[in-house]
Amino acid sequence: MSQRHLLALFNNFEEAELAVKELRNTKIDGFNSDDDMIVKSPIEHPEVEEFLGDKPVRVQLFTLVGALMGGLLGFFLISGAQANFYAQLKGGKPIVPLPANFVLTYEMFILGGVFISVLGFLICAGLPARRSPLYSVKVSEDQIGILVKSDERASSTLKAIFTKHQAQEIQEEAGK
């Protein structure tokens, strides 16, 4: 069975919300509302999470690991370098001066946190990504897009739902 992509554009967030809700509540053969539906919007709508179902965000995990790694790396790199370089005696200071090292440890903590968070963001958000088969510049302007992937047989049902919720435009393309 070949797959089809449908992109419906809505003028209004409330209309899109209703459309999504209906899609999720309607049992349509050949369409899985959990996996095959993507909402595209010009701005962030935190409410999407509520009606799209619980989708965990794992960036924080990266942040935690990154920050800890950064801090540990910083501290041990610095202390290790100091401990292996005897010529750098500083009069009146220990060879491994902890208070001084904490400053750089702190900076490395942040550096690790930020870098790995961004890395995590890219991984979790799937960026950089190839553009999806159906896209409208309208979604970066002012319209809400709902992209669904379904078997061919389901497309008419989906279209009907979109039309019902006053979709401005429905694009259609054969999937691969």
């Binding site: 993507i38 919007s41 999407v48 100091q82 750089l104 961004v118 553009r131 002012d142």
Partner: protein, 453 residues
């Protein structure tokens, strides 16, 4: 007072902002040319100094740093405004930041890049600057991790890279807008590459929100640490007038202060140059001005605290430096600093001046002058009047080389900023839309307005 119009069409937001990327007005070219000329002056001076030796700057023993480090602190200070507006106000959900945080962040990045130049410029052996980097090498030689200067380098690197990431991550949705609206050409390619395939999907937005918030959370302590560390360059040293406990908060306050003042200046300039009146509204300016006033008072307070703690302390050498500042050869500049930093901002307390553009432009420039003087007054008097009376020196003034490089740095900053404004949207389109959307929602919930867009 006119605030952002909630009925503004989102397409118009796109159109207006994207317009700022195209067809520069003659004024733009003039500013750019002036900036390039200024950079040329600075580069020329630096080349001369590089070739002949640091002596041409008329730095000497004991005046080891002069304007270079003073201006370095100044630019580091400027960078704090971006963080303040985007990170702190973001966490505090102050939505009025949204139309202006982008250029503030750019300011952060570019002033850091300018500040970094001064670290280089002041080095006696610029060509060996990489000795300060912790790169593994066969001989096992590492930089000295105890040096506040190295902390500085690390903090600036962290801050600069984090700021760039913050700026970039926050700009991805806008880059996608640019990509979508550009005809073919180098811009299209650039935006396509930089937008990373952003389509505004729910997954992207979800991760985006968390990441943006996380970086913002990191940036706040980072910004504080950066300027504390810059303050440590002085506070951790032993010199009278520098070895002051209150220096880190004092520096941070000063940084926010000068940053806010610079935001006012750039706000006014951008608003005029790119005709952003609809987004950079007077209401936002007013809020910024009030914030600036508050910080100026914090700064004044910390200044007084510092003077008082020196005055009532037992360290005669520090007291001597303070007396020297107020009465010695630096007195005109010191009093000018007090005037610009503590007296001039009182104007901002008056409501009618809070939106008076010409007055605000003048005031913000004076504030910046005051803050630059403040940095000079931190650096120079201590050098001229240190612990050892025999080496006191108050007869040496910066030569044209120092002034030229300082002058050039303003050109460099302007140049970077102007280029940024033409390549990247200096107003965040998606966040302005959010702002409008949320305000509309709020009104609708109160039943006072109809929704939709």
């Amino acid at each position: 007072m006119k605030d952002i119009n909630e009925d503004i069409a989102w397409a118009k937001i796109n159109k207006d902002v994207l317009k700022s990327l195209e067809n520069p007005r003659p004024l733009y070219w003039i500013i750019l040319a002036v900036a390039i000329a200024m950079v040329a002056v600075g580069v020329g001076c630096e080349a001369y100094q590089y070739r002949v030796g640091m002596g041409v700057s008329n730095l000497n023993n004991p005046h080891m740093w002069g304007l270079y480090i003073a201006t370095f602190i100044f630019w580091i200070g400027m960078s704090h405004s971006g963080t303040l507006l985007s990170a702190i106000l973001h966490l505090m959900h102050a939505d009025w930041r949204k139309p202006i945080y982008r250029f503030a962040e750019a300011m952060t990045t570019f002033s850091l890049m300018t500040a970094g130049l001064f670290v280089m410029v002041h080095l006696g052996r610029l060509w060996q600057f990489y000795y300060a980097l912790p790169y593994p090498n066969e001989r096992g030689i590492w930089p000295n991790f105890q040096s506040p200067l190295l902390w500085d380098a690390m903090a600036i690197f962290t801050y600069l890279s984090s700021s760039i990431l913050f700026l970039y991550v926050g700009m991805i949705p806008d880059l996608a807008i640019c990509r979508d609206n550009m005809k073919d050409g180098w811009r299209k390619k650039l935006y396509t590459a930089l937008a990373l395939g952003w389509e505004g999907t729910d997954r992207q937005w979800r991760n985006f929100r968390v990441t943006y918030l996380t970086i913002a959370c990191f940036l706040i302590p980072l910004a504080v640490s950066v300027h504390s560390i810059v303050a440590s360059d002085f506070a951790m040293s032993q010199q009278p007038g520098w070895h002051v406990t209150s220096f880190p908060p004092y520096f941070v306050a000063g940084a926010l202060y000068s940053g806010c003042a610079a935001i006012i200046t750039l706000f006014i300039i951008l608003r005029y140059t790119f005709k952003f009146e609809e987004y950079m509204t007077l209401s936002i300016l007013k809020k910024t001005v009030r914030l600036t006033f508050a910080i100026s008072m914090v700064w004044t307070y910390l200044n007084l605290i510092e003077f008082a703690s020196v005055w009532y302390g037992h360290d005669q050498a520090s007291k001597d430096v303070l007396i020297q500042k107020a009465t010695g050869v630096f007195a005109p500049f010191w009093w000018m600093m007090i005037f610009c930093g503590s007296i001039v901002p009182l104007i901002l307390a008056f409501k009618r001046f809070q939106t008076n553009i010409p007055v605000l432009l003048a005031v913000s420039l004076l504030l910046n002058l005051g803050m630059w003087l403040e940095r000079w007054m931190i650096v120079a008097p201590t050098f001229s009047h240190g612990y050892y009376p025999w080496t006191w020196d108050n007869s040496q003034w910066p030569s044209f080389v120092q002034w030229g490089i300082v002058f050039g740095s303003f050109g460099w900053f302007t140049l970077l900023f102007m280029l940024f404004c033409k390549i990247f949207p200096s107003v965040s389109m998606y966040e302005v839309k959010e702002m409008v959307y949320h305000r509309t929602l709020a009104k609708k919930n109160l039943g006072t307005a109809k929704g939709g867009h």
